[in-house]
């Protein structure tokens, strides 16, 4: 398995069966940077997503982790068909849906839905909740107008909203309730895939747990597949079956969540995990944080070789010259992929190495 290219591996059989709902192969998304003025010459590209492959088995959850600027939201938008893809391929349920025309994309839009981060910005404040949730029925003409109200009220009940609030405006709901409205809207057309882009980041912890439980119940009852984006590592660990860690448009590490969380091989994953504060003072006191230097670089002019090398505590000469492939490292399970020349070994003290470099 080790000698195969990562793309070939990802397109092959996934652990736990071949039934893959979404497959992304070598996806690239560049946003051109143009000069101002009349002749808008392209002077560069924001390399938001640069060669990402992943696969999500049906009924499972893939957690996508990364910091601001890692390209996780862009990737999600490309999968949902909301952004045209620069190159690469997106396959959904056996169909190639890469850059389909509006018309041909229509049937797939029904099956791929999104839940957005901001429950305030994603609901039109001037429309009633019933109309917002019923929109998908009207657009896709799946439910005749006469039955819509009943259908919407069923949905509201399902996500834990009071169906009598059908005629209220979004402003009359709290953040958690609004996110439930977003969930109801996404659920209306019985999609197969729901892309959750930071669905609980804006919510208080006690409300966040309510929404996470709701998402878990819906997955169980309707066999939903989730692409779950979040920057909160504990939330991702809670909801995901497998995890993909992105850094500056590339996949740093991916695999089943237990492997990635318990034995991270990429120094970035290790740093991210050590940086996440745990609500446990003893653990916090005994843990050694790997403090990275600097910030995530600009995706317009990404570093040569491994994109993480300027901040990496283990970087060597080779890292700035050669881009490491995403592959199975020696001693790892076949599903655990890492893009690193010098992966973290068991028992290694990365915190000390990082401190020594600072």
């Amino acid at each position: 398995m080790t000698d195969e290219s990562p793309a070939a591996f990802m397109t092959g059989a996934m652990p736990g069966g071949d039934d893959v709902l979404v497959r992304v192969e070598n996806l690239v998304k560049y946003f051109p940077v143009r000069t101002a003025g009349f002749v808008r010459r392209t002077v560069g590209n924001v390399q938001a997503v640069d060669g990402v492959s992943l696969a999500i088995p049906r009924g499972k959850t893939l957690g996508l982790v990364g910091e601001t600027g890692s390209g996780k939201s862009t990737l999600a938008r490309c999968v949902a068909g909301l952004l045209p893809v620069t190159s690469g391929k997106v396959t959904f349920d056996g169909h190639d849906i890469t850059n389909l025309s509006r018309h041909r994309m229509q049937p797939f839009r029904r099956e791929i839905q999104m839940i957005f981060q901001d429950p305030y910005g994603s609901l039109n404040p001037r429309r009633r909740v019933g109309a917002i949730i019923g929109d998908p029925f009207a657009i896709h003409k799946t439910v005749p107008a006469g039955e819509r109200k009943r259908k919407v009220q069923e949905l509201m009940e399902r996500v834990g909203l009071n169906p009598e609030h059908y005629n209220r405006f979004p402003a009359e709901f709290s953040g958690g309730q609004r996110q439930r409205i977003g969930v109801a809207r996404a659920l209306a057309l019985r999609p197969k895939l729901i892309i959750c882009d930071e669905p609980v980041s804006a919510l208080d912890v006690s409300i966040q747990a309510q929404v996470l439980n709701l998402l878990a119940d819906l997955q169980r009852d309707y066999g939903l597949t989730y692409l779950f984006i979040a920057h909160d590592l504990e939330v991702v660990r809670h909801v995901s079956d497998s995890v993909t860690v992105m850094y500056l448009g590339r996949v740093a590490e991916s695999g089943p969540k237990e492997l990635v969380y318990d034995t991270p091989r990429h120094p970035y994953t290790a740093a991210l995990l050590s940086a996440a504060p745990a609500a446990d003072p003893d653990a916090a006191a005994s843990r050694q944080r790997i403090i990275l230097t600097g910030d995530i670089p600009s995706p317009i002019d990404p570093p040569s070789g491994c994109r993480f090398h300027p901040r990496c505590p283990k970087a060597q000469e080779l890292c700035s010259q050669q881009d490491p492939p995403l592959e199975v490292k020696a001693g790892d399970a076949a599903a655990h992929l890492t893009a690193c020349h010098f992966p973290v070994e068991a028992g290694e003290n990365l915190a000390a190495e990082a401190a020594a470099r600072r």
Binding site: H238, A279, L292
Partner: protein, 359 residues
């Protein structure tokens, strides 16, 4: 004597819809060199509380006392307050982009702060001090970056610049209002590390307002948990995380997904925080509380001692409902020995099953 001693502070805002009772009788003290973590959800009054201390809540009806270095902050005139704010008590806000002026260079904004409080400092001296401060908070090439505008800084660097500004007059106390909430995890770790080091160097007191229990577990010495404008529970970090008494504190800790219960269902607190205009009767948490008793509906509990004098909880439950002693503590020790995190949840489980609570 404590550096800051707040006694029975209440803050309310008269509005057209009714009186918003944002803070209802809160007392706490902060010692030099210590970190107090104030935890609570949106609308718990944690931000209003600290802004009131700095005179940043115009239009509010305020009662109580807040004695800082021997003077009551609530009695100061605007002019007197201006001398304290920034110089003796510095503030770091959540959003570093909106708290820096976009049209002025970062260095200028720091030197302005210095010169506003000390007219004897020349422009040149202030500018040199700004470079030094930026270097101290870990901004690379401070001599050049001092001339940048805020938009040329990344989020983490802006927050560092805010910290540099807060440090510029060597304050005795820093109030940090969700300073890392807008930042990524690796940058958050950098900023927390920086705050801890600076505090160690200069013996500054720190009030850390956050909704993130992880941040509190990391850097606080003492913790105050707020709910609906009041302190639900106060104590040392260990009290709050391992021997918590108030069901709201327990609920908060159980709501966080954590590794030891990775695939289990989460146990959220049911319902929503109350409206501050129309508060429930009795204990303000009773409509959401799983341990609710008759007394909770009619009578609001005051903070009272739980086991030792520094651990206080505003709850009618018997003191034995904490994790002190017995199985709960044992379970915690075991989990820590094994290096597992999230022991708090297990402890809470034992508490819930204990006969004192069930009766």
């Amino acid at each position: 004597m404590a550096l800051l001693e707040v006694e029975n502070l209440t803050v309310s805002f008269p509005t057209g819809d009714g009186v918003v009772r944002a803070v209802r009788g809160v007392s706490f003290s902060v010692e030099p060199g210590q970190t107090l973590g104030i935890v609570g959800e949106s609308g718990s009054g944690k931000t209003v509380l600290t802004q009131t201390l700095l005179g940043l809540t115009p239009g509010a009806v305020i009662t109580g006392k807040a004695v800082f270095e021997g003077t009551d902050l609530l009695q100061l005139s605007q002019g007197q307050m201006r001398e304290v704010r920034g110089a003796r008590i510095a503030v770091i806000f959540q959003d570093p982009l909106t708290s820096l002026h976009p049209l002025y260079r970062v260095g200028w904004q720091i030197s302005e702060m210095i010169r506003a409080h000390d007219k004897n400092v020349t422009k040149k001296q202030a500018a040199a001090r700004a470079v030094e401060l930026l270097g101290r908070v870990g901004i690379p090439h401070p001599a050049q970056r001092v001339n940048d505008y805020p938009h040329q800084f990344s989020g983490g660097m802006r927050q560092r610049a805010m910290i540099a500004m807060a440090l510029s007059l060597s304050p005795r106390m820093i109030i940090a209002d969700e300073p890392t909430t807008a930042l990524d995890a690796t940058v958050q770790a950098q900023i927390l590390d920086l705050l801890l080091n600076l505090q160690r160097e200069s013996d500054t007191a720190l009030i850390m307002i956050t909704h993130d229990l992880g941040v509190v577990a990391d850097i606080a010495d003492n913790v105050m948990v707020m709910y609906a404008g009041r302190a639900a529970e106060k104590g040392s970090k260990q009290d709050i995380f391992y021997r918590q008494h108030h069901p709201y504190t327990k609920g908060l800790l159980e709501s966080i997904p954590n590794s030891s219960a990775a695939s289990e269902r989460l146990r959220p607190i049911p319902g929503m925080p109350p409206s501050l205009i129309n508060l429930p009767s009795g204990c303000k948490f009773h409509p959401r509380c799983t341990y609710v008793m008759d007394r909770c509906v009619t009578e609001e509990p005051d903070l009272r001692q739980i086991h030792d004098f520094s651990h206080l909880s505003a709850c009618w439950l018997p003191a034995a409902a904490t994790g002190v002693g017995g199985d709960a503590e044992h379970q915690r020790a075991e989990a820590v020995a094994e290096g597992r995190t999230g022991a708090a949840v297990e402890v809470a489980e034992v508490i819930a099953a204990s006969p004192e609570v069930a009766s």
